[in-house]
Amino acid sequence: MTTGRSTPWKLLALVVGMFGFGFALVPMYDMLCEVTGLGGRTGDLYVYDPAKVSPDESRLVKVTFLTNVNDGMTWEFRSEQGSVRVHPGELSEAKFFVRNTTDRVMVAQAVPSLAPGSAAEYFHKTECFCFTRQVLEPGQSLEMPMRFFVSPDLPRGQDSISLSYTLFDVTQLAADGQIATGA
């Protein structure tokens, strides 16, 4: 039976395909996150065009900033404002302060996350320290700006957004060359 002989090979091809599919899930998942704000993922750098965005002066949205350092990090990291109230469509700036409290040069990566996740697609950053890594000398401190605006398309009734930045220690990852030291 010629069909019989080919069955195992066809099945093996299915196996190889599914192994590949497992890895293909990684970029697919990333895309899904970017599109739907799954996991509170915020988008990449956004270009603000004042001609296209008309601020909605009729309402205010509260944006609360949360700052944390992850396990193994001892840097001082805080938001200068705590929270701000902005009109949707209006470009705003928030400042963050960071200081390396250790005795060695460290590389940090800020990971943003936004709650509720359904608001992530309406939150745009035109400038953010989270797009690059921070390399700080021992004791060095830095004022880091973040410019953003909330899209006027944000559904009404949603008047509070929380944005968290968590600093991760990526000194080892940077040294391994697995990610480029951007700074």
Partner: protein
């Protein structure tokens, strides 16, 4: 047997649709509108399941009793019945729609994203919770850790267990009643889950990711929950206790806590006697270190090293302070520099260097910690 009776009573009461169960047999209706909805849904599905179960198992039981060879039953030969098969596909589908509708309504309610009266950040650590109160005016922020307060003696059966064994903490989360409180949940190391059953809340605390849930509590009370995602060794020992109090009581508590916090920060500029350091150090050690390094300093090698006689706890003090302050990456040893103030770190270092036979013969003051940190 008392237990058996309770089970029987519980099950039979459930059967007569009165909906009253003993507390430890069923979900509690809880303290929020959402948790009441959940309870209602739970009972609805439970009764549907019981009803279907009764029908199916009765038919089965009747058949097993009647259609027995020993009763002289002769086997029929039918092997399908299209009408019947269509019927028992469609009827369950309709029942499911009846269940899905109220579930959807409740879920949409839970996803309400409207504004809140208070934001509390909840951060899971191995193995404790940190609560941060976020005010618009950043100066008012308050942050503290909440640790299991059940003693190791109770856990190891050397002392009688108290009423709230494993469900009690040194500092509970305090929230005002009749206010919409939003919990922003995240994790510091591995994934934990913040759960308060009476509020109908359970959400994972994931490092780097912010999750949000909210609660509007009507009645003052003490509400208890436990970490609900395996997070390592002491996953079973990081309870959540929420104290819901009327607003004015909440405000008093908040002001007092802030004052206490400021007072604690002042300690960093003081100088202590060796005795004071030992006393404070023991407190800090019992709260933060004892789960891994054990009360006798012997640890659980090789994962949790012994401190008694250890090179670090008897050797270079700067290295010792550094370990406590910065932690050891990739292990359960956290960077306590972000959790304790300079006085607490100095005290615990001093305590570790002078306990369980260790005798480093030095005195560690808050200023030593601060110098080491700012020297850089």
């Amino acid at each position: 047997m008392n237990l058996l009776m309770r089970v029987l009573v519980g099950v039979s009461i459930a059967g007569c649709a009165s909906g009253v169960w003993a507390d430890d047999l069923n979900l509690t209706p809880g303290a929020t509108a959402i948790s009441h909805d959940q309870y209602g849904l739970h009972m609805l599905v439970l009764y549907i399941c019981i009803a279907i179960g009764i029908v199916v198992f009765s038919v089965m039981g009747y058949s097993m009793y009647t259609h027995r060879k020993s009763q002289g039953a002769v086997a029929a030969h039918f092997h399908d019945n299209t009408r019947l098969e269509i019927l028992w596909t469609i009827i369950p589908a309709l029942i499911l729609v009846g269940m899905a509708y109220p579930a959807t309504v409740t879920l949409i309610k839970m996803y309400d994203t409207g504004g809140e009266d208070l934001i509390v950040e909840v951060r899971g650590y191995q193995w404790k919770w940190q609560y941060k109160y976020l005010d618009e005016d950043h100066k008012n922020a308050l942050s503290f850790f909440s640790n299991l307060s059940t003693s190791q003696d109770e856990i190891h059966n050397r002392a009688p267990k108290g009423e709230f064994y494993l469900l009690e903490v040194d500092k509970p989360l305090v929230i005002p009643t009749k206010k919409k409180v939003r919990f922003l949940i995240t994790g510091n190391d591995v994934i934990h889950a913040f759960s308060v059953p009476d509020f109908g809340i359970k959400r994972d605390a994931i490092p780097g990711i912010l999750n949000d849930v909210w609660a509007y509590v009507d009645e003052p009370g003490v509400y208890r929950g436990q970490c609900s995602e395996l997070c390592g060794k002491d996953h079973g020992f990081m309870p959540i206790v929420v104290n819901a109090v009327p607003e004015d009581e909440y405000n008093t508590w908040y002001a007092k806590e802030q004052a206490a916090y400021a007072e604690r920060e002042k300690m960093a500029s003081q100088t202590f006697t060796a005795e004071q350091l030992m006393t404070l150090g023991e407190q800090v050690y019992t709260t933060n270190c004892v789960a891994c390094h054990q009360a006798n300093g012997q640890g659980v090698p090789p994962v949790f090293p012994a401190l008694a006689g250890s090179k670090i706890a008897t050797g270079d003090r700067a290295e010792h302070i550094h370990r406590v302050y910065s932690g050891v990456a990739g292990t359960a040893m956290q960077a306590f520099g972000t959790q304790l103030n300079a006085a607490e770190i100095a005290a615990v270092v001093h305590y570790e260097r002078h306990s369980w036979g260790n005798n480093a013969n030095d005195v560690t003051q808050p200023i030593d910690v601060l110098n080491l940190v700012s020297a850089q």
